[in-house]
Structures are given as structure tokens and as C-alpha cells.
């Protein structure tokens, strides 16, 4: 039985915005599933619907074999949900946060106490357990938030950008917890901007763009679909954002054989071509003849980044989000 089963799911908001336009996908039991897409693609809307926080407009969705609207209450007992922002009660201690979460999940006190002690150790908050969580660092808060979604031993864990805003060390820690949880058989449904980790950990993924699924499969399937190496061209004046240079460059490339795709990118132009390495001399010569100066040229085998770029025309750049929202392990508390 699939852990998540979505068919023709549609969400239209009151103002007429169609956030999700009839998507279908399955997540198998025990799978580590990545749900990717540019900002505004409809990822959070989908997660909110699957976690019973938002009503769908039409279509069907089952979680753990249960209808998310008809059996909402049962679904809530089986899922853990971590939202994009860290959500803990900062007036309560770490332990109290976890206890409250367990109580809301209707757990028995004896069992709950043991479970909370165990979890506090797992997320490395044993020493800070009885301090008010307002005084925790950003990384500690995130770990507490993660622990609070696990108190009732959910079968399926939904995570919306769980590592956004964390410093690299805390981020790696969260990923390693998630990997461990998945190894115990927990199904993980995650949206994230970190494609390297997706490549490493997710068994399958779906890419969402403008409310529609534009690609799905395993990372290796999706990468091999590109079937070509990637050649990145940089131009002398940085990014040839001004139309004419870019257009001219594209024209030059269009006259070359062996290129399967030309895509605009922030760094310049990305070309996909089979056996790309052999094409490099041709490219250099062609640009030389056209008197366009190249500042860099790079050849690499395709990554998930390329898959994402190919299907959405955009590149995920987690670094930018980090700069504006980062709170380090020793980050000051925000109030």
C-alpha cells in the first residue's frame, strides 16, 4: 500500500489562484521522497493539503491508505509534520514542548515520559531539556521542532524545507537524523532546496512547477533522461543579460551540430550535448569567429541541478535564502 496516493489533486484559492493544477503521484511505504520546485510552485500548498491543514478543491488524496478529509483524525495520528518555519513554544522548555506534543497526540503519560527522554538524547538536547527553549540557538530549536514531530512515532513524516536557514553543520545533522529515521522504516516526504542531499538520500522525487508535476522518477533516472553532458559558458562581461549578446551567442550555437538543448542560466548559457568534451573546440572556434569573448567554459556530467533547470528553466539557489534567514548554532534568539 502506498504511503501517499494523490490523484488529480487541485487547489484553487478563494481569489482564483490555482496553486495546484491536478497533480498525481504516489509515495511508497518506507520511501524517502523529494518534492522539489521553485518558490511558489505549490509545494507548501500540497503539503498542507496532505497534512489535513488545508482543504483540497478537487481530486483525491490518501495518506497511509486513509482519505485525508474523511479520515482526517486517523491521518493526524499517523503523520508527523514539520513546517517551513521553526515552530516551538518558546515559553516552554524543550521537555515541555515534547510532552505537550505527545499529550496532543493522546499518548499515555508513562510511555510519553520515556519517549521524551529518549528523543531528547537522540536530538542532543539532553542537557538543555529543562531550559526555556527561547534561549536555544537556531539549530537547537530546529532539532527540538523535529523531535516534536516524532514523539508519537509517526509512520509518515512530512517536512517542508527542514534545513532552510540552518548553518551547514546543523543542516548535516538534520539530514543524518532523517536518514536514520528512514532506515527504521519511516516514510519521509520532504521539500527542500538542497539537491545534493536529495541526490544522495531520496529514492524518488517529483518536480513541481506552476502547480504541475513536470518530472518524476529516481535521481538517476532523471539525470540519465538528460542524456547529455552539460557545458556551461561564461561571457566576458559577466552575465550577458542584455538580450543582444545572448541572442547572438545562441545564434552561433544554433549553427553548431550535436547540441541537444540550449538553456539560459544566471551564469551565462548552459548547453546540453552528448559527449560534450568533444564539442568544446568547435564552440571555442565558433565564438572566436563571431568575435564573442568567452570568459569560461566548463564540462560536467548532469546533476539534479540540471534536471531542475531543464524542467523549470530556473536554478535552485539555497545560498540566497540562507543569507537572509540564517540563524547559526550560536545564533541569537529572535523574539
Amino acid at each position: 500500500m502506498p504511503a501517499v496516493q494523490v490523484e488529480n489533486l487541485v487547489k484553487t484559492y478563494g481569489d482564483g489562484t490555482q496553486a495546484v493544477k491536478g497533480i498525481s503521484f504516489n509515495v511508497d511505504d518506507g520511501e524517502f521522497f523529494g518534492f522539489l520546485g521553485p518558490n511558489g510552485a505549490g509545494k507548501s500548498t500540497t503539503i498542507k493539503i496532505l497534512t489535513t491543514l488545508l482543504r483540497k478543491t478537487s481530486g483525491s488524496a490518501n495518506v497511509a491508505g486513509l482519505d485525508i478529509e474523511h479520515d482526517a483524525r486517523k491521518v493526524r495520528k499517523l503523520i508527523g509534520v514539520q513546517m517551513q518555519d521553526t515552530v516551538i513554544d518558546e515559553d516552554l522548555t524543550g521537555r515541555e514542548n515534547l510532552m505537550l506534543q505527545g499529550h496532543l497526540q493522546q499518548m499515555r503519560s508513562e510511555e510519553l515520559k520515556e519517549r521524551v527522554n529518549e528523543l531528547l538524547k537522540v536530538v542532543d538536547l539532553g542537557d538543555a531539556a529543562d531550559k526555556r527553549s527561547a534561549y536555544y540557538s537556531g539549530g537547537m530549536k530546529k532539532r527540538l521542532d523535529l523531535a516534536s514531530t516524532l514523539v508519537h512515532r509517526p509512520r509518515i513524516l512530512f517536512l517542508d524545507e527542514p534545513t532552510t536557514g540552518l548553518d551547514p553543520q546543523s543542516r548535516a545533522q538534520v539530514w543524518s537524523y532523517l536518514k536514520g529515521l528512514n532506515q527504521t522504516g519511516m516514510t519521509i516526504f520532504i521539500t527542500t532546496q538542497y539537491l545534493e542531499e536529495v541526490d544522495r538520500l531520496c529514492r524518488r522525487l517529483a518536480i513541481l512547477d506552476h502547480g504541475e508535476i513536470v518530472a518524476q522518477g529516481s535521481p538517476s533516472e532523471l539525470k540519465s533522461e538528460i542524456g547529455a553532458d552539460r557545458i556551461t559558458l561564461g561571457f566576458e562581461n559577466g552575465n550577458p543579460g542584455t538580450g543582444s549578446l545572448k541572442d547572438k551567442a545562441k545564434q552561433v550555437l544554433g549553427n553548431l551540430g550535436g547540441i541537444s538543448e540550449i538553456v539560459d542560466s544566471d551564469e551565462g548559457i548552459v548547453i546540453y550535448a552528448k559527449n560534450g568534451g568533444f564539442l568544446v573546440p568547435d564552440i571555442v572556434r565558433a565564438f572566436d569567429n563571431a568575435e564573442i569573448k568567452l570568459s569560461s567554459i566548463g564540462v560536467s556530467s548532469p546533476t539534479l541541478d540540471d534536471v531542475f533547470l531543464k524542467h523549470t528553466g530556473r536554478r535552485i539557489r539555497p545560498e540566497e535564502i540562507d543569507k537572509s534567514r540564517a540563524t547559526g548554532v550560536f545564533g541569537r534568539r529572535r523574539r
Binding site: M83, V87, D89, D91, L100, L104, Q106
Partner: protein
Amino acid sequence: MTLFSDTSHLFVRSLKKLFRNPILLFFSLFQPIIFLLLFTQLFSKFADLPGFLQLTGATSYLAFAASGIVLQNGFSSAFQSGTAMVDDLKSGFLNKMLATPVSRPAILLGRIFSDVFRVIAQSSIILGLAFVLGASADTGIPGYLLMLVIIAFFGIAWSGISLALGLKTKNSEAVFGIAAFLTFPLLFMSTALVPPSFLPGWMGQVSQFNPISITVDGLRTIMLPGFNIGKVLTAFGVIGGIGIVTMGATLYLFRKVVS
């Protein structure tokens, strides 16, 4: 069954939050205590005005104003209820709760019960202080209990205004602003601090229909000599009417947020 245990867990959570922010508690008690200590002194000569003692039955201005000050405290703390709801809405904690099987009404009830607890505790402190200063209820301990019951229901009814506003606007500044906007006109155009016959003509007319006046009359008849059950019942009636409207609006808006 889960409604009961969920409500009690959320009630405890709200109380912990309250006691861990003593500054908030301090400021909400600060004003009524200043009123009790200074304001009543400032206007103590009121009691010397001809007719004051006969009209009100009070022995001092303090004894007269105590009921009004208790009530004023009741509605200023009721107005904080909505801001706490907005906090949970904005921080995402409400959604976090909603993603669990917690009983939905428990989220509201836990909040309301902690407000009631708070308003009873604060009112007891104020009435206790008034007692120390020489203003005691003529009806004794049963009277004090009845006053606390009135204030508790008043607190529920009025917290419904701020809860509904909070759920509607999702903005705590708006709740605070509207609360401040309502507080003083309602208070000053009432008999909370001045007997009706001392108000200028039009104000006297308005104050008769002011729910604050009617509730204060209910308290005052318990506090001062000449207990009149009719006034207590009228107060309950008005509180009930307001409560049905405000709680109805709160429930309606809460259901919209929840679903």
C-alpha cells in the same frame, strides 16, 4: 474524553506562558492597583459631595469605585486573549496543533479557561487589596464568590470580542488598537467610577444602556448595602447576551480558520 484532557493540557500551557511572562502580568495588574491606591484618593472628596453617600450607600469613594476598578481590570485582561490567539496563528503553533488529532474545541476552551483563571486571580487580588484599604463587601464571603462568578462570565463574554477580532484581523496591533479605542469611551460613559446622577444629562442617558454600567451595578449591589437580586440577574442577562454574540462570532471565525 479527549476534549477534557486536551483542554486541560492546553489550559496548563496557557497558564505556564502567563506566569513565565511576569512583566505582562505586572502591567495588567499595575493599572487597577494604581487606580485603587491613587485614583480613589484623588477623588476621595467625591464622598463629601452632598447626596453621594445617600445615593450610593457607600461609606467612601473607594468602596464605591472598587467594583468599577475590578470590572475595568476584567475587560482589559479579556482583551489580551485575542492577542495570544494571534501569536499562535502567526507563529504557526496553531497549525502545529491542528496537524495533531487534538480536539478542535479544546484549543478555544483551553485559551478561555486560562483567561477565566487569570481574571478571577486578578480580581481576587484587587478585591483583597480593597478589603485591606477598608472597602469590604456588605454581603460577605458568598457575595465575594458571586462577584467572582459575574466577573468570570464577563471575562468570557468580553474575551470573545478580542478572540473574534484576532481571528478576523490576524494582527495583534489591531486587537490592541481596537481594545484601547473601546476601553475609555465605554469606561467613562458608564457608572463604573461615578454614580449615575453625577453624570451630565446625555451621558447619564447613554450610561444606562452601557453594558459596563449594568455589570457594575450587579457588582455594586453585592459590594454595597442594599443587595438587589434583580440587578445581579440583569447583569447576567446582559453578559449572556453579549457572550452569545461574541462567542458565536469567535466560533464561526475559528471554524473558518480550522477547516
